[in-house]
Subunit: 349 residues, 2 copies
DNA sequence: CCCTCCGGGACGTTTTTTGTCCCTGCGGCC
DNA sequence: GGCCGCAGGGACAAAAAACGTCCCGGAGGG
């Protein structure tokens, strides 16, 4: 495999780097939106139809795209090439380096940074989900038990999981019981969708929202629930989102009093029902059943997926709170985290 | 140092890989011809003045060129960048791989292949010389004794040796005595020129062409000659050209009888006064004094410089005949040698 | 069955690229 | 020291490429 030093090339053909970026971007967006038409795609990318047309015609001549009456899609070689080019682009845009720094700062072995900021461009969350889905698919093997959480990000992961490819005999389980989310982004729903696309099975864990601790205790002793819980605790891999504490508190419809408590205890992050403060200490837990914080140590792989500048604090806190093996995030969050780390360095020195 | 996988890039931005080539080519030619004007350069490269002008204006804006009333030259950063880009271009054009294969086939540890064919474009020989000169300059250290041969290729090496840079205290000696060449390309002349550019000293070894063996013997026993020979045999590094046997025989004005003998014995290569057959066996030696074939083993570094498709056979033969540590050649010769090797493989199989 | 959005074709306009001059002036050769 | 040649820079019309914009027949989905 021939490799080429980058900065010198950039110096002598800067336009190469730029067209490379736009073309890869186009392939990428097509992958997300396919099948998609010229006009829709041009509008989504903020370029005019004509120039996009020139590019896609080129890409088709290269055999990377196929044109249907329903829209454009990636061809098989298109998928393959895009996979390689994503890495190239990550290097070109400096996201590789970003990931490396993040890895060191957060002490997470493997970090992937996708382009953009989920807060600002909606498609970035899809990219995030796609990237996580691809990494996940690689990591899973037959017999794995995959625990998943809810949230919009995890929903994107399920949505973007390619259903082609060999089926994997996994059991997908919700990491925790009902957490008061919209049904589309509940862990139960997501587990089901993921299982379908992976070719495995899923189970559900239905418990009502907002129970009293006593009810919870009764419920937990139910044989059926016990059985389900047993299955959940056998998880070998978990994929989960990370949220901003207060945002999640509101979405989960916590009472004003509880929200006040969270604020008072300095909660900044939420993940699978636990709230963490800036130091990563758990300061509160939702009253529900499922995978517990102390179970994480048993897992083979803990993957976190979260992006957007607004989640930077939460990601940093969560990374301190428990073990994360793989983090998939975006530029917005990555720069946010590194910015925070830099500030703290400056204070410290 | 960020590196980037090449073939994928080539697939998605082929035009820009081409402009990369032309721009590097331009820098390269300017380095060879500087100071040079637009028109002369455009004519030499076979492109129109206007398009060359666009390119050099770009390169100047990038700070890689400086414009004088006398013509264009490389700036300091221009030199530095070109050095990096030569490697990039070698990879892009597949010359890296060519060199690697050549290295394996000829059993020469280090091989460099420059672009073009010396037989077809005259400037390629300059490139060859430049490349060899640069490698040589790197390899030499104070106190080295450098032996050189004659020939047009070696003349190019001397001509292209940069005279800037730190001076090196080397002694440059002709590898062998007079070999009946034109004075410009005699080893004595070349030794003197190289010494001047490197900042060292040189000695001459003047013996008449075409002596009888008896005269040679007498001459060799002369104290002054003895002394010089002593100095030559103390050489630590040798740089030499390789020639086609019959061409060299004619140029050295060997008699018809001698030429017939060479032909009969299947001589295909000539190097520092020795003729070799296809298997690399020396079949004849010029009657002169200096470094002998058996002295090569003592040297720290044996560098060969030869290019052009017509020299492929000679290079292959020479590589079998004696030890070569570094070979600098061109595409024409490289493809020729590999073509021969392939044929032999097919016969053998 | 209809309606929307698809790819492909077309075309005038704008922008960029290209070929071809000329001019002034420095530098090297005589 | 003077002269000649080639240097870079400026200019400009012609050619080519890129671009914005619209239209059309048709396939797919509701």
């Amino acid at each position: 495999m021939d490799v080429v030093e980058l900065s010198a090339v950039r110096r002598i053909v800067p336009e190469l780097v730029e067209t490379l970026q736009t073309r890869v971007q186009i392939l990428h967006r097509i992958r997300l939106m396919q099948p998609v038409g010229r006009r829709a795609l041009a509008a989504a990318m903020g370029i005019t139809e004509r120039v996009l047309r020139a590019e896609v015609e080129f890409l088709r001549r290269q055999g990377l795209l196929v044109f249907h009456p329903a829209g454009m899609s990636l061809s098989e070689p298109g998928y393959a090439l895009l996979d390689q080019l994503e890495d190239v682009l990550a290097a070109v845009e400096g996201r590789s380096e970003l990931a490396q720094r993040l890895s060191r700062v957060l002490r997470i072995p493997r970090v992937t940074v996708v382009q953009g900021d989920s807060d600002q461009e909606s498609w970035v969350k899809d990219t995030l989900g796609l990237q996580a889905a691809l990494l996940l698919r690689e990591a899973l093997t037959d017999g794995d038990v995959l625990a998943v959480t809810g949230g919009t990000t995890m929903s994107a992961v399920a949505e973007m999981m390619p259903s082609k490819g060999p089926w994997i005999a996994v059991k997908v389980v919700p990491a925790r019981g009902g957490l008061g989310e919209n049904v589309d982004i509940q862990s139960n729903t997501i587990a089901a969708r993921l299982a379908k696309r992976l070719g495995g099975t899923s189970i559900m864990l239905h418990v009502p929202d907002q129970m009293s601790p006593e009810t919870l205790e009764h419920l937990s002793s139910e044989p059926l629930v016990q059985e389900r819980l047993q299955e959940v605790r056998e998880a070998t891999v978990i994929v989960h989102g990370i949220g901003d504490a207060l945002t999640m508190a509101r979405r989960r419809q916590l009472s004003r009093e509880e929200q006040a408590v969270l604020r008072e205890r300095g909660a900044v992050a939420e993940a699978f029902g636990y709230f963490f403060n800036e130091e990563g200490t758990p300061v509160h837990a939702m009253t529900t059943v499922g995978l517990r914080l102390e179970d994480l140590g048993q897992l083979r792989l803990v993957m976190a997926v979260a992006g957007g500048g607004s989640k930077a604090r939460a990601i940093a806190a969560a990374a301190k709170g428990y073990r994360v093996d793989v983090l998939v995030t975006d530029e917005g969050a990555a720069r946010g985290v590194l910015g925070m780390a830099r500030e703290m360095d400056e204070e410290g020195s």
